[in-house]
Symmetry: C2
Subunit: 158 residues, 2 copies
């Protein structure tokens, strides 16, 4: 089971972010071997960065601290269940577990679009809420770079 003190710190960060005028009400800590190795609160409006969610900031700091983009063995604590972008960041980071306090309904209750945004993910490209336009005439040029990367022994693979 997760540690209350880490979730309490995540909640404290969410409060710090709101009271400091930084952004939306979210705070995250990332823990490895009982130690906090990255933390953050939402800074979307204060930094004009749509990606500056608490989880993304904490993951970025944890990677820098551990000097790896593989956070296997780390736990992530967040006051509210992560949005779709942060779920993606969590999956890429390979953190081992996610602890959360408030569920998606709590986001809906305060008017945040988290639940709504998930709907696009199970839709085909052509049915998403914004247009996805294919440019297949440039496939050949684009594929050459994919293959260059895939076939080089020097490139780091995820």
């Amino acid at each position: 089971m997760g540690e209350h003190r880490f979730m309490k710190r995540a909640i404290e960060l969410s409060r710090e972010g709101v009271c400091g005028g930084h952004g939306f009400p979210f705070g995250t800590v990332i823990v490895k071997n009982d130690e906090i190795i990255g933390e953050g609160f939402n800074q979307v409006p204060s930094t004009n960065d749509p990606t500056a969610h608490a989880e993304v900031i904490a993951i970025r700091k944890a990677g820098a601290r551990l000097e790896t983009f593989d956070l296997s063995g780390c736990d992530l604590y967040v006051n509210g269940v992560p949005c779709c972008m942060c779920l993606g960041a969590i999956l890429w980071s390979r953190v081992s577990r996610v602890f959360y306090a408030l569920d998606m309904q709590a986001c809906v209750d305060i008017g945040l679009p988290h639940e709504h945004l998930f709907k696009d993910f199970s839709r085909p490209l052509g049915e998403r809420s914004i247009p996805f336009v294919a440019m297949p005439e440039l496939n050949h040029e684009a594929r050459a770079v994919y293959e260059l990367w895939a076939n080089s022994p020097d490139t780091i693979k995820p």
Copy 2:
């Protein structure tokens, strides 16, 4: 329809990222009123940042340039169809359209997990590939911050 020159620049960035040893084979440009206002290539391994995808970097730069977290009216060009994290970033950024060259199968062909990672998004929390652990005993404390944010006239809403 999208402009070839912008997609060609996205492909060029993907090549620059691979040849410079920065990361995985992706490049992105964001365009407003026929002008590039943000661009980037993947820098995950070179910066130890799991979130440093081309789209995220370009979105961040575009927000800084336009001094807003709302990229409505912008178009995003990327050499390959975005992953789940970047789809989330795209939705939050509110770019108006996404142009891409290579489809998801091209990612599969070079061994990237993009398609696989999407599977978690239509699963309930309890069936995801990593454990999501609820800590409802801290709901009261967490909800107080949500409500503080929601009820304050001074906080910026997304």
